[in-house]
């Protein structure tokens, strides 16, 4: 019997190695907060963190950045006045800023086996300096490569034992996209449901992209 549930957060995060690339979903909500706390406790170091933003002074992103576990942050924006902004200013954090749509698309490309793609986003800007570009149908485009994670930390509303997930309202955001882009996809879910409970046409993240699920009730 396939059963992707694990008993607790340490089991969910077991084996995450130093140097891993961690995809952390969420955008205002849908953040896997308990898993991020678990990663702080787990203690892996020299991590690369991929997230939509660098966060603020408190909250999951700030918390894990403050431990010094993260060497590099890949995200679409960093507030200068935030833990991430100050660590960068102090030379303690490497930053790679990626436009938000390109970030989502690079994650999807990793999940989809696309080896590279051309997008007009960011062409003719400072982000294009020193990068490969190409004019296609009269539009200047940047060549972008997939962004693959070793581990994705995912938030869900419901999960079944095959790892099928739903996400609630705008808490969906990066969750389905990051789930498909990592070698190990770990989910925290508010609710556990029996197999078959989620209507087959309304699974938001199919279990094929999910490896471990831990129940984190509200």
């Amino acid at each position: 019997m396939i059963d992707k549930f694990v008993p607790d957060v340490p089991a969910a995060l077991a084996g995450i190695a130093d140097g891993a690339v961690i995809l952390m979903a969420g955008f205002g909500n849908g953040i896997p907060e308990t898993l991020v706390k678990g990663l702080v406790a787990q203690g892996a170091r020299n991590l690369t963190l991929v997230a939509n933003s660098g966060g603020r002074d408190t909250g999951p992103t700030a918390d894990i950045l403050a431990t010094g576990q993260v060497d590099k942050l890949i995200c679409s924006f960093v507030r200068p006045d935030s833990t991430a902004g100050r660590l960068f200013a102090a030379g303690k954090l490497e930053l790679e800023i990626v436009p938000q749509g390109t970030l989502a698309e690079r994650l999807r490309a990793a999940g989809a086996g696309i080896q590279a793609f051309y997008t007009p986003t960011g062409a003719d800007t400072l982000l294009a300096e020193g990068r490969e570009t190409r004019v296609i149908n009269g539009r200047n485009c940047l060549l972008e490569f997939p962004l693959r994670g070793d581990v994705a930390l995912i938030d869900a509303w419901e999960a079944d034992r095959w790892g099928n997930l739903t996400h609630r309202a705008s808490a969906r955001n990066f969750n389905p996209v990051m789930a498909m882009a990592a070698a190990l996809t770990v989910v925290q879910t508010r609710h556990i449901v029996p197999l078959g409970d989620i209507p087959p046409a309304n699974v938001h993240t199919p279990g094929v992209f999910v490896h471990r699920v831990v129940h984190v009730p509200e």
């Binding site: 955008f27 205002g28 909500n29 849908g30 939509n52 933003s53 679409s76 924006f77 960093v78 507030r79 200068p80 902004g85 960068f88 930053l95 800023i97 990626v98 436009p99 938000q100 749509g101 390109t102 989502a104 698309e105 994650l107 999807r108 997008t119 007009p120 986003t121 960011g122 062409a123 003719d124 800007t125 400072l126 982000l127 200047n140 509303w157 996400h167 609630r168 309202a169 705008s170 808490a171 969906r172 955001n173 990066f174 969750n175 389905p176 996209v177 938001h204």
Partner: protein
């Protein structure tokens, strides 16, 4: 008679006037966020938010907040009847694939060739606050900019021959709404479409670094 500049809400209201029913619209942070407040409820305009919300509605009553429903500014919102949710990659399919009838962004500067600069005031701060602006700027059918005509400090014009700040995207702006005027982008540069009451062409040109054209 002296002219009366619009305040920020006034700029937002002026933009709202020009959005017809049925358009699918993304509003950036700053002045643009206020645009939806000025679209009457019986004119169906569908607002998109980058985090996967289609049909974003106004802020909820404080006792009716759904913690799982925010907009791209992470403010609590409601969902209109008929709205739906997609994931982030699909949300940017909408933004980048030409499916938005309109995106309204704030900006520091707009140039007469349609260049927009809205994410950094200098190259050394440039690598930090991109967000979704570059995606929206290249992807929408129409890009309107909402900003004050001149800077607060020295009164320098944001209506430029060439942008002095790092670009967000090149040649994409189709219209600019300021506190003083509405400008289109024509092949030969800025085209004045409307001015606030009491404004004269000479006074508007005086506040614009780029040459203005009249029809």
């Amino acid at each position: 008679m002296t002219f009366r500049p619009l305040d920020r809400a006034g700029i937002a209201a002026r933009i709202a006037r020009d959005i017809p029913e049925g358009w699918f619209v993304n509003l950036g942070i700053g002045i643009p966020t206020g645009v939806s407040d000025h679209v009457p409820n019986d004119r169906e305009v569908i607002f998109h938010s980058e985090n996967g919300v289609i049909g974003a509605g106004p802020a909820p009553d404080p006792d009716k907040i759904d913690p799982y429903l925010v907009n791209a500014g992470t403010q609590h919102i409601t969902l209109r009847t008929g709205g739906s949710f997609v994931h982030h990659a699909d949300s940017f399919v909408i933004a980048r694939g030409g499916h938005l009838d309109l995106c309204v962004l704030g900006a520091f500067e707009v140039a007469e060739n349609g260049d927009i600069a809205n994410w950094a005031r200098a190259p050394d701060e440039a690598v930090k606050q991109v967000g979704g602006a570059m995606d929206l700027a290249i992807g929408a059918k129409r890009l309107w900019v909402a900003m004050e005509h001149t800077t607060k400090g020295n009164g320098g014009s944001r209506i430029r021959q060439v942008c002095s700040y790092p670009l967000t995207a090149k040649g994409v702006v189709t219209r600019v709404y300021t506190d003083l005027a509405v400008l289109g982008i024509a092949p030969n540069g800025f085209l004045v479409l409307d001015m606030v009451d009491g404004m004269t062409p000479a006074e508007l040109q005086d506040r614009s670094e780029a040459k203005l054209h009249w029809q």
